[in-house]
């Protein structure tokens, strides 16, 4: 058989970024932002995220909260991503984002309220431009592309300062058309948007291997013609460095980027899930050894910046914060029945008045969750 002659028209490489290995040893010189103070602050935020998730799961187990998606083991992705944005930037999160939400100034009580059945939790008091948590998979990536268009438009035509949008999703989301459609548009229109994929190896029970034949998720950006990078998602320094670089490049007009942060979901998908049905125990144990808090604590310990006394002091401080936020959640102002109509439209259409009155006559629900 004659083999036809062909020539190469395109090829690609995917780079992987890591600063701290599994033992917490630096694999290369750390970036400038990684000062002792900054690293301790990132450690604190990851510890807070873990504490919030832990309490939220316990609240659910004791009937005080609805279904909750923990981000156990993925704290570095949220904290590293959230810390890379400037206050005026916009964040379009998916639903497994405790660390990033905390970085954006979202209150713990607001996070608990969302999963405790209060829409008002999504009215982020300290992140008024950010999108609410998004539950339909990958749909928020398109919102981010639209926001990015608006930010660029407002900069060019309305004299606004350059701003960037960062959006996140899980590895399962990379199988959806929305993911590709958003990257494709972002590339075609060179939009200031950064896509961060939390590759935690699981889409509920479907493993990353079953999700796609692609050997990385980062390479999916190649088809859209945009830059991408894979980072160690358990290394908060790597996540923060990659997202910061991408955000500042986008701000300077350099266009979009996809960042795949490789991690592992050390918890159930949500409190309504039982990962023991599908998650191999040995794989889970191996993943535990790579988790992000342990890794950063080891690095800080080697550097003389952390010890058990400081850890105890931090845990005391975080426990106080948690106590305060739990009280704020428990004292959350109840929703009145008419609230379900009050924000449906800017002004309640006249045909809905009758239903409004029916709701207004209802007694508010009692405090039981």
């Amino acid at each position: 058989m004659h083999k036809p002659r062909m020539h190469l028209v395109a090829s690609f490489d995917i780079a992987h970024l890591q600063y701290l290995d599994e033992q917490g040893r630096a694999t290369q010189a750390l970036p400038d932002f990684a000062t002792p103070d900054a690293l301790q602050a990132m450690y604190r935020q990851m510890a807070l995220a873990r504490l919030v998730d832990d309490h939220a799961v316990k609240l659910q187990r004791t009937g005080q909260l609805g279904t909750y998606p923990s981000s156990l083991g993925q704290e570095a992705i949220g904290v590293g991503t959230g810390g890379a944005l400037r206050r005026q930037d916009i964040y379009c999160p998916y639903y497994r984002e405790t660390g990033a939400l905390l970085e954006r100034g979202v209150e713990v009580a607001e996070i608990l309220a969302i999963w405790g059945g209060y829409e008002r939790g999504q009215d982020f008091r300290h992140a008024p431009g950010d999108f609410p948590l998004c539950i339909p998979i990958a749909t928020q990536l398109l919102h981010a592309a639209g926001v990015a268009f608006a930010l660029a438009y407002q900069q060019r035509h309305m004299g606004a300062e350059p701003r960037v949008v960062v959006t996140s999703a899980g590895d399962g989301a990379s199988s959806r058309g929305d993911f590709y459609e958003a990257m494709n548009l972002a590339g075609a229109w060179k939009l200031p948007v950064v896509f961060v994929i939390n590759n935690n190896q699981w889409a509920i029970s479907v493993s990353r291997r079953a999700q796609t034949a692609a050997c990385t998720i980062a390479q999916k950006a190649v088809a859209a013609g945009i830059n991408s990078l894979q980072v160690d998602g358990n290394d908060v320094i790597a996540v923060r460095a990659a997202v910061s670089d991408a955000v500042e490049r986008a701000r300077a007009g350099g266009g979009p980027m996809l960042i795949e942060a490789v991690s592992y979901r050390l918890c159930d998908h949500t409190t309504a899930d039982d990962a023991s049905r599908y998650c191999p125990p040995d794989e889970l144990e191996a993943a535990r050894a790579r988790e992000p808090l342990l890794r950063l604590a080891r690095y800080l310990g080697h550097a003389g910046l952390w010890d058990s006394a400081r850890e105890e002091e931090l845990q005391r401080e975080l426990a106080e914060i948690m106590e305060r936020e739990l009280l704020a959640y428990r004292d959350w102002e109840p929703e009145v029945p008419t609230a379900m109509l009050e924000h449906l439209y800017a002004t309640l259409p006249e045909p809905l008045l009758e239903q409004y009155d029916e709701l207004a006559a209802m007694p508010p629900p009692t405090g039981a969750s």
Binding site: T139, G146, V147, A150, Y153, L185, A188
Partner: protein, 327 residues
């Protein structure tokens, strides 16, 4: 002032709002250089530039989704879907996000956007180009569904839709895109949303129709007039929220009602209108509310589309049956 068609009135409204409001952007497939497959955006890119009138990649879900982000961030996006039959990939974004963002954030973020699409049958197009599925959208809380039926109403209602603080599905009856011409002053005056338009006064029966079906409905009313029956013709124009009061006010006079729509009968808007008349005005009725609609089947290829669409004969038959009740 030259008389213009419905599709030209759409262009005129888009141009007016692009000129007046720097937040307005118009985008979709082929809306730029080509001016839209029906020419609804003809000349807009030349006048307002490629930064405000944009051709998008071909992905309807993407078009619907980016509009949510643009609107929430302070722009006034007007997105075109080439045909209603291709809008469905965008339903997820319309239903899950555009309609819900204000409620989900308790008013913090909102979606002042317009999704435009040519809709309805009767132009001998291929399959999927003749849908009338307005009821799907009307069912979704948080959306507005608006259908113009004349050049003047296309202009005034589209301006209102773009200025509305909430998402609007704006369905343009393409069968009458060029069916009649009217003088439409380009004065930027919007028409009210959420209100019916009384297109013809009458005392004997109330005919409710919207979009292209009004062409046959108004013709039927003229025919009936020649026979001594005066029909009142009402165009709801905003199908959701529905102004039932104007319809009931009319029933105070006529006590009989026929609803005409191109869409399939089952769970069509006619069912909602009949149900609301039953709830609010049962005692006014001298006859059951009758529906003259498309059939409960797939919109046929064009050889049979004239059999599917309500024509004057079927409307007249429905009216006579309702007038003669309980004969």
């Amino acid at each position: 002032m030259p008389a213009i068609t419905l599709v030209e009135a759409v262009t005129q409204a888009l141009a007016y709002e692009l000129r007046e409001d720097p937040r307005v952007v118009v985008f979709g497939q082929d809306v730029g250089v080509n001016g839209g497959v029906f020419r609804a955006t003809d000349g807009l890119q030349a006048e307002f530039g490629g930064a405000r009138v944009l051709d998008t990649p071909l992905a309807e879900n993407m078009i619907a989704g980016i509009a949510v982000g643009m609107a929430a961030q302070g722009l006034r996006p007007v997105a075109e879907f080439q045909f209603m039959g291709f809008i469905y990939p965008g339903l997820d974004q319309m239903l899950s996000h555009a309609a819900r963002l204000r409620n989900r954030t308790r008013g913090r973020l909102s979606c002042p956007l317009v999704y435009r699409a040519p809709y309805g049958g009767g132009i001998h197009a291929p399959e999927h180009h003749s849908e009338s599925t307005e009821a799907i959208f009307a069912h979704i809380p948080g959306l507005r569904v608006v259908v113009p039926s004349s050049p003047g109403r296309a202009y005034g209602l589209l301006l209102a839709a773009i200025r509305d603080p909430d998402p609007v599905i704006f369905l343009e009856p393409k069968r009458i895109y060029r069916a009649l011409r009217q003088e439409v002053p380009d004065n930027g005056e919007a028409l009210p949303l959420d209100r019916c338009f009384r297109l013809r006064e009458g005392t004997d029966i109330t005919l409710v129709a919207w979009g292209a079906a009004l062409k046959e409905t108004l013709a039927a009313a003229e025919q009936l007039s020649a026979e001594g029956v005066e029909a009142e013709v009402i165009d709801p124009a905003t199908l959701k929220p529905l102004d039932i009061h104007t319809i009931i006010d009319s029933l105070e006079k006529t006590r009989r009602c026929v609803v005409i729509h191109e869409a399939a009968r089952f769970c069509g808007l006619g069912a909602e209108i009949a149900a609301q008349i039953n709830e609010y005005a049962f005692d006014l009725l001298d006859a059951p509310v009758h529906r003259v609609t498309g059939f409960d089947t797939v919109m046929p290829y064009y050889r049979l589309e004239d059999c599917y669409l309500p024509d004057m004969e079927r409307i007249l038959a429905g009216v006579r049956r309702t007038l003669e009740y309980p004969a």
